[in-house]
């Protein structure tokens, strides 16, 4: 199937917001999504963006039932390892179900890797839920390393009241 990968622009935020919800529904966490299209426009396309995006698009003749041609995305930002230096973090990778199995996810992820290397990064990291067996299998088949399973890395998060309390001067 014909598809193209390109950098996201501010006009893509409507489709990105739509696909973020689809990804959240896939992970059974749709009620956790608070970010809106407007937030994405401000946070991703202002002077010091929090993230960058890549969109996968198909030609008109392959559009979905609802008429979408933007059918996948990856969202990433630059991070840093105090041991290894510049790194890149892939926050989301998503392809609409009817377009899977065609190399689009791989193309999106490869593009993130390529952009990372071009920026001097030497690590690409991301997370996956352990119950998401198909995604885990896909990523491992591409040659990545599960540092939680192999090295015992645990992700921790402070939010809500706990974070408010910590942030008090």
């Amino acid at each position: 199937m014909d598809f193209s990968i390109r950098a996201a622009n501010v006009e893509d935020c409507k489709d990105i917001a739509r696909m973020i919800m689809e990804l959240a529904e896939y992970e059974k966490m749709a009620d956790h999504v608070k970010v809106t299209q407007r937030d994405l426009e401000q946070d991703g396309f202002s002077k010091n963006p929090f993230f960058h995006g890549i969109i996968a698009e198909v030609p008109e003749q392959h559009k979905t039932k609802e008429g979408h041609t933007k059918i996948g995305y990856a969202l990433y930002f630059y991070s840093y390892s105090s041991f290894k230096g510049r790194a890149i973090y892939m926050e989301d990778l998503y392809v609409m179900p009817e377009f899977r199995g065609k190399g689009i996810g791989k193309a999106l992820m490869s593009k993130v890797a390529q952009l990372g290397l071009a920026a001097g990064c030497n690590q690409l990291s991301f997370t996956v839920l352990d119950r998401n067996k198909s995604s885990l299998e896909f990523y491992l088949s591409q040659g990545c390393f599960d540092i939680t399973a192999n090295m015992g890395y645990h992700c921790m998060r402070c939010e809500g009241e706990a974070l408010e309390h910590l942030a008090q001067p």
């Binding site: 010091n48 930002f77 290894k84 490869s110 997370t127 090295m151 998060r157």
Partner: protein
């Protein structure tokens, strides 16, 4: 014990580098540190820095055995949750062993949370900790951090070295 928490300057990078090495030894990865204090200077103190850093300083009269007054650091950068918005990632939090138990770690952690909230309206603070590092896990749990690997099954995956090169080589041509 008297101590002060302040934003790191370029000149602190030698001390930060020293303490990164100490942290690496503590997490049993002493040979894993590949970057120098010059790289930290370049990446942390340029126009679009990759990270920010706070240091903890004690007065001269309380300096370490080897004569250091910069005795702890917190290394962090801004990240994004597509569900919740701006977030902050605490890459390192370290206090030299002889200065622990004096509230310096808490001071550094709190300052990161305060700065991230004020500057970027961050709604989450994330970090990673190794499963065998019980003192650190207990420290963060006592501050209200949840272990998402335990509660939600989150795993961190990584591409580096040859695997990263291979992946990048397969990117579609523009």
């Amino acid at each position: 014990m008297n101590f002060k928490i302040r934003a790191a300057t370029k000149e602190d990078c030698k001390d930060i580098s020293r303490m990164i090495m100490e942290l690496a030894a503590y997490v049993k990865a002493p040979d894993q540190v590949k970057i120098s204090h010059e790289e930290l200077q370049g990446d942390g103190f340029c126009q679009n820095p990759f990270f920010e850093c706070l240091v903890a300083e004690v007065p001269e009269e309380q300096k370490s055995k080897e004569g250091f007054t910069v005795v702890g650091y917190a290394f962090y950068f801004y990240t994004y949750s597509t569900w919740k918005g701006p977030t902050v990632y605490l890459e390192d939090l370290y206090v030299m062993p002889e200065f622990r138990g004096n509230g310096i770690g808490t001071g550094l952690l709190s300052k990161v949370a305060e700065v991230a909230k004020k500057k970027k309206q961050c709604v989450h603070l994330h970090l990673s900790v190794l499963d065998w590092n019980t003192p650190s896990r207990d420290f963060y749990a006592a501050k209200g951090a949840q272990d998402l690997t335990v509660t939600e099954g989150i795993h961190v995956l990584r591409f580096d070295g040859q695997n990263l090169d291979n992946l990048a080589n397969e990117a579609p041509k523009d």
